[in-house]
Amino acid sequence: MTKQCIIIGASHAAAQLAPSLRQEGWDGDIIIIGDEPYLPYHRPPLSKSFLAGEKTAEGLAIRPAAFYEKNSIQFRQGRVTAINRSTQTLTLSDGQEQSYDKLALCMGSRVRKVSLPGSELEGVHYLRDITDVEGIKAHVEKDKHVVIIGGGYIGLEAASALRKLGMNVVVLEMAERILQRVTAPELSEFYTRIHTEEGVHIHTGIAVSEITGETHTEKVICADGTEFPVDLVIVGVGILPNIELAVEAGIEVDNGIIVDEFCRTNDANIVAAGDCTNHFNKIYNRRIRLESVPNASEQGKSAAASICGVSKEYKSLPWFWSDQYNLKLQIAGLSLGYDQISIRGDKLAGRSFAAFYFKDGQLISVDCVNRPQEFMLSKKIIAEKLSIMPAQLADETIEIKELMKLSSQH
């Protein structure tokens, strides 16, 4: 009988894993089960160019239908409700069963929901998929008011896109500074300045207590009594990995599905890739869960290889990007635990600089705003653990190419 590889989740990871299976020689069936009515699509533009109306839903597809047909990759719309490992079957929400020889878990993550009074009112939206953004777009109109709850990358990107469309934008962040969970105070300060210059009102250290309105949202009320009139509320307070299916099936989970460097779980027939996984990262010498497209794609390649009995180690340097206004932020590595920061360029004026993070004298991460060369340089230094001095990076009289040479000499 033809072997079957089932992929749960029509995600970024799945869009890479399925074709990689063919490249690695899998000649059995490949079926991707997803609960959205779309082929796998690019999610990063959702809070950027798609929200701003510069891209269509069709334009988001990672690969066209013809590609999947040509590679005999099938799609099945549905939701898996159980993984039965002893019988190697899946149960779907419509009651049907689907058997598997190999299984790939690419379930991604979902938005963290808030349980505020009024959060069910019309005009309150999250931002994770195409349907969410289409819902948001229905309320977008010049000079109308939007409150964004959460000053993380998603919230700030949405602020940028909606400001471009002429809306009055307020961002409310509970922590003392925006981007607190993901970056240094220097970056928070910079993005606060930029958004303020662009006309966005950022409030930090403020908690929302209620959203009010008849049927449609009218006001956001904060714990300190401050009120904001609203036509639209966007909640962007983080995401949670989709791990429940794995937990219930007895697959090892600890802040994500535990995988090894070949994306294998503790079940020999099951691999996992993307946001829902937790892997041991050799560059940082600790277990991490990443919310990142490049991670999903690279793990997809390793997972596909493992299914085909080939060892392809996942060892990529994590990287991320964020577009806001005319700023392209490129982030390489993880800055958590840094003990020294070095800045190249003027972060107090203008819109171009890089912040380098060091730990025990080693460069571990960089945030580059409109500095693609510093980004490319840092990727190499961090991944290969080359040495460079913080003072050298801060010195703009030393050209980037010279820095590349300096770092390679050790």
Binding site: P19, P44, I62, W319, W321, D323, K328, P372, K401, M404
Partner: protein, 106 residues
């Protein structure tokens, strides 16, 4: 319909059909050409869709933006005619064009 040929570092060739208006990166992805990673999906953010355009065809591939130049400058396998394929919009005038892929995408 015209076609463009991608040549991998290993020498393997992939002739893909031109779809006017799509980027060179996208038609490589649409046809599963190995060696074009395109991590960022065409935002000129990652530098992983590097191609080297055959010197006879550079007049057809349009201008290089400053941002693209800065990214390419740091790419180890950069050649004189290097481009990020997400920044090239394909047209029928590219029928017969050949582009080479580097050994590694950074």
């Amino acid at each position: 319909m015209g076609s463009i040929t991608f040549i991998e570092h290993s020498g393997d060739q992939h002739a893909v059909e031109i779809e006017e208006g799509k980027s060179l990166m996208q038609i490589a992805m649409d046809n599963g050409v190995p060696g074009v990673d395109a991590d960022c999906g065409g935002e000129c953010a990652c530098g992983t869709c590097h191609v080297i355009v055959d010197a006879n065809w550079t007049s057809k591939t349009g201008n290089v933006t400053e941002e693209e130049t800065l990214m390419l400058d740091m790419t180890p396998e950069k050649a004189d005619t290097s481009r990020l394929s997400c920044q090239i919009t394909t047209t029928e005038a590219m029928d017969g064009m050949v582009v080479r892929l580097p050994e590694f995408q950074m």
